[in-house]
Amino acid sequence: MKNQTYTSHLVFLLKVKIMVRKTIEFNLNQQAQSLTVDPAMPLLWAIRELIGLTGTKFGCGKGLCGACTVHLNGMAIRACITPIEVVANQEITTIEGIQSEHPVKQAWKEQDVPQCGYCQPGQIMSAVALLKQNPKADLNQIKSGMAGNLCRCGTYQAILQAILQAQAMQATQFAQVKGNNHEA
């Protein structure tokens, strides 16, 4: 189904008169992608409509809600305002590319965070990036780091608990790894 959409898209592109297009190559969840598209197309729509990965959500298209958050080389970005040409030859990770066992996803499940769930992929992607950059973030740093992600269902309290839990889990994992190395 995805391929069909993609093929018909390409067929269409060949037919039109005025049209800028460019082949953009990048890695998505560690798989090579090559898309011939309008380089201004936001990454969000390339991921959702051309590649067919729909975990990344559309909420505003203006960088105001965080629903479309993905990682560019491990940093959280808003895919809705990132033209695809910016990610050429870069590494993109979406919610589907974060392992189920990742402490953030684990904590999210244990805290049963989602309500409607629509904002959650974006929340998780922001949280993963935040803890990567600042594993010891305190409560205020977590709050400001997550302030770009809206949740209309109001799951904020559960999100904070999940991030604190993930932080603790990561710290233990880290300690274990360190301990193991020490023994070796």
């Binding site: 189904m1 069909q4 959409t5 018909s8 898209h9 269409f12 039109v16 005025i18 049209m19 800028v20 297009r21 309008d38 197309m41 729509w45 409509e49 051309l50 067919g52 729909t54 975990g55 959500k57 559309f58 909420g59 505003c60 298209g61 203006k62 105001l64 809600c65 629903a67 979406t94 919610i95 589907e96 189920s100 996803k105 999210w108 499940k109 049963d112 989602p114 309500q115 409607c116 769930g117 629509y118 904002c119 959650q120 998780i124 709050k143 400001s144 997550m146 302030a147 992600n149 809206l150 949740c151 209309r152 269902c153 109001g154 799951t155 904020y156 309290q157 559960a158 999100i159 904070l160």
Partner: protein, 730 residues
């Protein structure tokens, strides 16, 4: 209300048992497809148990809670049950709303009895089947973990293995439901069943629906309400890559493209002339002026107790009266998942995929547009990225079906956020005048008068719901009403309950008058989480607080004194005062408490908000919340809904406002229609009153008290009494 009977139906899918429901009036000779449609529970030979969820899952946890009710009596782990969202059929009607709609915080209350009975009857049937197979008494068998066991030798048969025998038996007419002491799931914080899918990004929302050759449409609606396309020039837009077609439809101009982004970009190049309409000159200030004038009139009397309050207040010495006005603005729903619908209309079929609270209404919308019969139309309900009352309106369904019919292609209509903010069905803007009089010693309240100006939501909803030919699903009462709508029924004869709900106060004030004045400026209004309660609780809980202050009485104790005849309201109030350490905390130098209580959707909620003021801005630090919602099916979900409803109400209290300029909505986006963010989130503490009463509403009742609780706390902090929303210090 018709009584629903659960019964066994002959198996239609080979080797599986369908447990269906039948309206007591329905015929016994159902066709095979009827039987499929009527199925609620399917037990397959391989022991796979599928449960049809007849309500929309929009975050409120209904998928998990309904499954728990069934699982409790059927003796299966909720997580072993496979769930599917229901198609449109009579059996899935919500008895409280007479149609297949999720709303009014009714899902659990309505399912509480029938679903447990369904589970119990299925269980008894399987027990009978096992007893028959083993040629022993039923009492020699018991059920556990989707198996029936023999007491004597611990052999077992799975439910699936019993299907063939069970379907030749008649289910018991009466069953005994478990006493609460034996509940395994009900009352426990069972994790939500769809959490993993939502965390992994696998849950399918309407926006995620994918079909071969699917095209995406962006519809540009008239900026001024009620306007229409005069003419348009699409030549520039058509040049845009990916654009397939641009057509005029009744709702506006639809730009159809290969991808959403292409459609949205092209839509900005449209040149559209809109017809001029009366509303072109409407502004929020005009609406307010009109409301302020109208509120002086005598309204429709909707509540009267003792003597007419007006007379008493007029007679009283000015020092013994209080007279103020309150206002609330229009509010948008702003569900996180933008409005969308996918439709595929062919000559003989219409399929719709939509995140909707009202699949039945969507079907009748599609029926009217396509001219197809009900059997030819299928509605697939996906997960909803938020609902809050917005997703009962069928606009986007009408658009998708219309465009698909015209283009003969599968179409996904997806609204840009601006279209959502600007073309919602808003919570009504209202205006209230309140008066009270006291005795000479300022010890007691003698009279309470509340007059308010408000449009009618039902008068906006009905035209949507009433299709050309009187649809079969429309309940008689509504059919009756709909005919009268054209004659302004809500202006003259009827009072729309959604306007007045929450104004009939529980406080023991001897003389009370409540009057309602209908005024509709022409801005579309709709159901917004907790509906009339959301604005009316702000007003009455604010005013009662003012009265307490006037009489120099403590806000909590004053309410307490006037609630002596309302045990449940009193209990939540006392508990929240205790949790918040009301008396000790009242003396804190920089934290200020405000209290409010409100009864809605069958549940009692009391809240205390703790606020601090920083450079003229209101910060809500903590919220204490107590609910009595009868028996609790899943306390974790109840607590989550309390937090959710509080956040929703806080957005309205602190920032929410839709204003009108020249007939159009001023706000566009999340920058000028701001939602509460995590860094503004108070700590919320929730307590649930234990109860043996039947379950009542959970999704909405915690929204109404939060705005007044915050306003009352702000008064303690600043001595400024804020009487309009959003709360702004001067």
């Amino acid at each position: 209300m018709k009584r629903r009977e659960f019964l066994k139906l002959t198996a239609v899918v080979s080797g599986s048992l369908l447990i269906g429901v039948q309206w007591s009036c329905a015929s016994d000779n159902m066709t095979e497809s009827d039987q499929r449609l009527n199925a609620w529970v399917q037990i397959q030979a391989d022991n796979q148990i599928t449960f049809i969820i007849d309500r929309a899952e929009m975050g409120q946890g209904v998928l998990t809670a309904l499954t728990m009710l069934l699982a409790e009596e059927l003796e299966i782990e909720p997580k072993q049950v496979k769930t599917e969202f229901a198609p449109v059929a009579d059996v899935y009607k919500n008895p409280a709303l007479h149609s297949q709609v999720t709303g009014g915080s009714t899902s659990i209350a309505m399912a509480w009895q029938p679903l447990r009975e369904a589970g119990a009857k299925a269980r008894e049937l399987l027990l009978l089947a096992a007893a028959k197979t083993w040629q022993i008494e039923k009492s020699q068998c018991y059920v556990k973990d989707t198996k029936v066991w023999r007491k004597d030798n611990q052999q077992f048969l799975t439910y699936g293995e019993l299907v063939d025998v069970a379907r030749q038996l008649s289910p018991p007419k009466k069953v005994r439901l478990k006493p609460a002491s034996q509940y395994r799931f009900i009352g426990k914080a069972i994790p939500r069943l769809e959490t993993a899918d939502k965390v992994e990004g696998n849950a399918e929302f309407g926006i995620d629906v994918s079909l071969p050759d699917l095209l995406v449409a962006v519809v540009i609606h008239p900026p001024v309400f009620g306007s229409q396309v005069e003419s348009f020039d699409a030549s520039k837009a058509k040049q845009k890559a990916g654009v397939v077609d641009i057509i005029e439809i009744p709702q506006g101009i639809a730009v159809v493209a290969q991808s959403y982004w292409q459609a949205e970009q092209a839509s900005q190049l449209l040149e559209i002339q809109w017809k001029t309409v009366d509303l072109d000159s409407l502004d929020s200030t005009i609406i307010q002026q009109n409301q302020a004038e109208l509120v002086k009139q005598t309204g429709r009397l909707i509540h009267q107790q003792g003597q007419t309050a007006q007379a008493l207040i007029d007679k009283a010495d000015a020092r013994q009266t209080l007279s103020v006005t309150y206002q609330t603005p229009y509010l948008a729903h702003a569900t996180m998942e933008p409005i969308n619908c996918t439709a595929w209309v062919t000559e003989h079929q219409c399929s719709i995929w939509v995140p909707s609270q009202a699949p039945e209404w969507n079907k009748s919308t599609a029926k009217e547009i396509t001219g197809l019969s009900e059997e030819q139309i299928t509605v697939h309900t996906t997960f909803l990225g938020g609902g809050f009352g917005r997703r009962v309106c069928p606009d986007e369904i009408a658009e998708a079906v219309t465009i698909s019919k015209r283009l003969k292609k599968p179409i996904k209509v997806l609204w840009p956020r601006e279209q959502d903010i600007q073309h919602d069905y808003y919570r009504p803007a209202t205006y209230h005048q309140l008066k009270a009089s006291f005795d000479a010693n300022k010890q007691q309240v003698k009279a309470w008068q509340h007059k308010f100006v408000c449009p009618s939501i039902l008068s906006w909803m009905l035209p949507h719901l009433v299709q050309s030919e009187s649809p079969s699903w429309l309940p008689e009462t509504i059919k009756d009403l709909s005919g009268k709508i054209a004659h302004g029924v809500f202006t003259k004869w009827l009072v729309d309950d959604t306007s007045v709900e929450g104004t009939n106060i529980p406080y023991a004030i001897p003389n009370q008058t409540v009057e309602y004045i209908y005024y509709d400026p022409g801005i579309p209004v709709g159901f917004w989480r907790s509906v009339g309660h959301s604005q009316n609780a702000f007003v009455v809980e604010g005013f009662i607080d003012e009265i307490a202050n006037q009489l120099n009485q403590d806000s909590y104790l004053f309410r307490r004194k006037l609630l002596q005849d309302h045990g449940q309201a009193l209990a939540v109030l006392d508990r929240v005062a205790e949790m918040s350490q009301w008396h000790q905390n009242s003396n804190h130098p920089s934290r200020f408490l405000g209290i409010a209580q409100h009864y809605s959707f069958g549940s009692y909620v009391a809240q205390v908000a703790e606020v601090s003021i920083h450079q003229q801005s209101i910060q809500v630090e903590k919220v204490y919340c107590v609910i009595d919602c009868g028996q609790v099916v899943n306390p974790a979900i109840v607590k989550a809904q309390m937090q959710s409803a509080i956040v929703f109400g806080l957005t309205a209290a602190l920032t929410g406002e839709i204003t009108i300029e020249q007939g159009r909505v001023t706000q566009h986006h999340f920058d000028d229609y701001q939602l509460l963010r995590i860094n503004q989130m108070p700590e919320v503490m929730v307590d649930i009153i234990p109860s043996e009463n039947a379950p009542s509403g959970v999704g909405e009742p915690a929204t109404p008290p939060i705005a007044p609780a915050v306003a009352n706390a702000v008064y303690q902090a600043t001595k400024q009494r804020l009487r309009s929303l959003p709360l702004r210090l001067t």
